[in-house]
Amino acid sequence: MASASKSFSYSVATRVVAHLAQGLDAARVRRFLVYMRDCPELILLLMAGSVVGAQTCVANRRYSTDEIADLCRRFGFEHVMADVPMSIDNVRSHYLSDMVPPKEFNMNSMAIPRLSDDPDARHIVLTTGTTGTPKGAVYAWRDLVAQIRQRPDQRSVTFLLAYQMNHFAGIQMMLHALCNRAALVMAESLQMPDVAWAAKNFNVDAISATPTFWRMLCSYVASHSDRLSLKQVTVGGEAVTDDLLAKLETCFPGVPVAQVYASTEMGSTFSVRDGKAGFPVSLLNRNSGEVQLRVVDGELQIRAQHSMLGYVGDSSSTQGEWFATGDLVAIQGDRVVFLGRKSEVINVGGVKVHPVEIEKVINQVPGVFAVRVSGRPNPVTGQIVVAQVVIAPDSNGKEEEMGAAIRSACKVLDRYMQPRLIEFVSNLPTANQKLMRRPESES
């Protein structure tokens, strides 16, 4: 495990985990919230938590003290492991360095327990919660580990972590690397210059990231005439479109692309490696297996054996039940393709419009670095389609010409889908490396 400032071999990491686990035991910390910047030590702390059968949860590091206090109150956390001083009523704040084993602790005599052995070990993943307060999806560590496919060929691979640890995908990436005894690199931040630097400096072989992240990385690499020698590209978390797959092929010729489907609630459920958008219809309506899929009213539903156990304080969803994913799909021939999130659908005068389909067209216009399509309230049609475009830094395109080129490209779309407003911006709002496309609220 490596970051710009620190690295841990597996043997050292195992000792640190044992040390931290003893420390947690000595301090009688059984449930704790983590409020730290993503770093190798955070991962070791989570492993220690799982070893002692603790309940762990990683909070967004951008949360304010008030938000952390609220989380602690709602989820009943009495301990926070923080990298800054924190003062919250009825909550004890610890630094990692406080977790000291008792004096008689003898590293050499201690049998090191295996990750996930303890059936009580839980990890709570917070939902992104763009509306309202986040919910906590409770997982058994053993379920999280059961989702990981162990592959001998992964052992020599160096992965770069392109997700935050407070999200499911971060946990999943961490476990994929750990369970396969691979190397995991953490960049200083998920900004493209830091990512590209870490990828080159640590000879990263594989990155798993969102389409939004990959679009940015491809554009960054192209505009800096940089080369990354990746051997494995994994995409997930948002709808993957053919234009993205083509872009990846241009940027990383011949590198196999895996598309994974995962969610905070269901975990990592299936992956496709055939290089085409969507997944085969044959995966639907199977009556056996750890993961089952079906389409109800155009929405993908999943039932997964190793899904979350349920939400904290809410018994409405439980493990082994069908779960509506919020992802809209369409069946095209022998393929199930993703149209986008249900919550992102734009209603233009009664016609439902999917942002992803429009973004797909605009992303192919030369000079476009990134685009986000969303709905804006309108007195005439309810909502109208707005495209916010970031022009590539090396492009000479002027806004006027770019606007004309985008409109011209959008003529292939149904009239209701054509963006009626095109705005040029310097960056786009993202959450966990995904574009935020929810319609703007009525003001």
């Binding site: 005068g349 804006r376 309108n378 007195p379 005439v380 409109r407 009626r420």
Partner: protein, 85 residues
């Protein structure tokens, strides 16, 4: 055309840019009807929606959101001219 009328004229030109026919050739006068065709601009609901958004973006408010439905170019211009004074 004065400043306000010219600004609104430019917004209308932007609004109809998706049309196949040339947007450059469009001519308006105060009497030009906004929604009828072929004797007017023939703006449909999507174009009116875009016009509303364009006006809102430029002036900070627009007649359609306020519940006013100007019928001619002149009425639209005077909506803003009246508000200005």
């Amino acid at each position: 055309m004065d400043g306000v009328a010219e600004t609104i004229y430019q917004i209308i030109r932007q609004v109809i840019r998706y049309r196949d026919s040339e947007a450059d050739g469009v001519h308006v006068s105060d009497a030009t009807r906004l929604y009828e065709a072929p004797d007017g601009l023939g703006l449909d609901s999507l174009e009116i929606a875009a016009l509303s958004a364009g006006l809102e973006g430029r002036f900070g408010h627009d007649p359609y959101t306020a519940g006013v439905f100007p019928q001619t170019f002149g009425e639209l211009v005077s909506y803003y001219s009246a508000g200005k004074t």
